[in-house]
Amino acid sequence: MTATLSVTGLHTHFFTRAGVVKAVDGVDFDVAPGEVMGLVGESGSGKSITGFSIMGLIDEPGKIVSGSIRLKGEELVGASEEAMRALRGNRVAMIFQDPMMTLNPVLRVDTQMVEAIRAHEKVSKRDALARSRDALGMVGIPAPEERLRAYPHQLSGGMRQRVAIAIAFLNEPDLIIADEPTTALDVTIQSQIIHEAQSLCKRTGTALIWITHDLAVVAGIADRIAVMYAGRIVEAGGIDAVIDTPLHPYTVGLLGSVPTSNRRGERLTQIPGMPPNVLNLPEGCTFRERCPRATAECRHEPAITEPRAGQAVRCFHPHGGGA
């Protein structure tokens, strides 16, 4: 199966007055059709910028310095603004974090949905409306006919996020990028939304990149996971492999800082220190200053290795693999 999206060597840098911020500094990954990939990391690790790079929405002073982003073989880096606009919402869609903010407060739901369809296809208003109604039904909105005529403020947060997801799926895109779409929702609604998005992807063959800092959410939705740290992917692999037997010390630290019921009463481990200053990243492995396993060797750039099949890591001293 060929990948829907393949990102190789992506470098997105921001040229600020204070210096060059290497927000994304060498990211590689593939997403297959119908696959859900979780992109995990702390704030500032570059996961959202990776998403915006794919959408072609990096504003000044940011720039994709090098690398390639291929959507079904078509190169997106360096594509014209015109070509990118034709792509956005049509072949690549995006779901945002705060459903209170992503729907225009003064336009009705039907207006916003019809607009999204007609921006890319010549269809009659009536057909577009019918498709919008079906899409709302697909994401589990009851009485879609009524909801179509509602204004965003008349809907609850979960309902609005469903509308946002329905809009993302409207034009049956190849790829959807979801940027922390459940962070602002209740856990109960969260799990429904995750379930809904997952089954839609499997049904339509849409690839989904789920950006989040919440490992529990990723464990529930993703097929594969990529952990980002300071603009790089430090570990990537199948969801079960990474969660059960993490290789990179950072992944281990992340998992250790999630409270679970079977470790009740124990002290939660934390990752010491702070994420590095993006203006002044340490030489070699960017995690070494916080890493309990760091040695002199870590002053050099670690290469990506695959100690286990299908689980790649960027570390000299991965867990489980000796050292």
């Binding site: 959408m55 929405l57 606009r85 034709a86 792509l87 956005r88 919402g89 049509n90 869609a93 995006m94 945002f96 974090q97 705060d98 903010m101 992503t102 729907l103 225009n104 407060p105 003064v106 336009l107 607009e115 999204a116 921006a119 890319h120 589990g140 909105i141 009851p142 009485a143 009524e146 909801r147 509602a150 204004y151 403020h153 008349q154 809907l155 609850s156 979960g158 309902m159 946002a164 809009i167 109960t188 609604i189 429904q192």
Partner: protein, 301 residues
């Protein structure tokens, strides 16, 4: 779906209903709006409810000149508000004057609103040097006193109602441009604009359908206040003698005409048109104030 039953569409008043009921909570707003509507009605109905057409020289008799209020005209009707130096019935002249004043105010306000907000939207969306250039132009425009700029423009353009409107538009567009740009800058940063961009909508569509409607509230408020301002400015220009011609007296012309008689005790020629102008401007401003209170999200309860 467990949340479906628990989350019905919330039945709320339509936005307009809620807005109206909030607006009418204040008795000042009720009185002001009623006054304004009465003034507009009187102005529109002037040809049918006045005894004289003050612009038709055949109906104006110099022998009726400077009659005090309540005197009977040569033609037989009573001049309840008296007459001016040329023998015009002041009641008729005021209503006809109101027509001109309101027309000038609304036309110049409307045109300035459209032009100004398009320029403001464009500046906010374009950003960078274009925005800087436009906004410095706005600053420059606003740094001159409006009356002075209008005076110079009318002096250059010449007399006539169309020239006055052009001058007022040129004076006022900057207020709208600045207002719209301010709120458009705020709206542009909001996530729904980013979401609209991610849907691949065209720039024109994003500006007109998504940003513009969200800037309407401050625009409505500025629009009412600036319309009142335009009416006052037109009266000022006419009073100074560079506005409308003597043969088509607006309120400002009437006030100017009566000014020379003030010291001889014939107060009515200036005072009644002055009161009409005052009432119009105050009622528009009060309505505008109330609109601002209701439309301002920070003041809403």
């Amino acid at each position: 779906m467990t949340d479906t039953a628990a989350a019905p569409v919330v039945k709320v008043q339509s936005p307009f209903r809620r807005f109206a009921s909030e607006f009418f909570e204040s008795w000042i707003a009720r009185v002001a709006l009623l006054t304004l509507l009465t003034i507009i009605f009187l102005a529109l109905a002037a040809p049918w409810i006045t005894p004289q057409n003050p612009y038709d020289l055949g109906q104006v008799d110099v022998l009726d000149g400077r009659l005090p209020p309540g005197e009977e005209a040569f033609a037989g009707y009573t001049m309840w508000l008296g007459s001016d130096g040329a023998g015009r019935d002041l009641y008729s002249a005021i209503l006809y004057g109101l027509r001109i004043s309101l027309a000038v105010g609304v036309a110049s306000g409307g045109i300035a609103l459209v032009i100004g907000s398009l320029i403001g939207l464009f500046a906010a969306y374009a950003g960078g040097r274009v925005e800087t250039l436009i906004m410095r132009l706005v600053d420059l425009q606003l740094s001159f006193p409006a009356a002075l700029t209008a005076l110079i423009l009318v002096a250059i353009l010449g007399k006539g109602i169309d020239k006055i409107i052009i001058a007022l538009v040129l004076v006022q567009w900057a207020y709208y441009a600045r207002t719209v740009r301010g709120s458009a800058l705020v709206e542009r940063r909001k996530e729904y604009i980013e979401a609209a961009t991610c849907l691949g909508l065209s720039h024109g569509r994003i500006v007109m359908r998504h940003i513009m409607p969200n800037c309407l509230a401050p625009l409505i408020v500025v629009g009412t206040v600036q319309t009142a301002h335009a009416i006052a400015l037109e009266a000022t220009l006419s009073f100074l003698g560079v506005g409308l011609p003597q043969t088509e007296p607006s309120l400002g012309v009437l006030i100017a005409n009566g000014y020379e008689y003030m010291l001889s005790g014939r107060y009515w020629i200036s005072v009644f048109p002055g009161l009409a102008l005052l009432l119009t401007i105050v009622s528009i401003n009060l309505v505008g104030d109330r609109l601002r209170d209701v439309l301002n999200p920070r003041l809403s309860r």
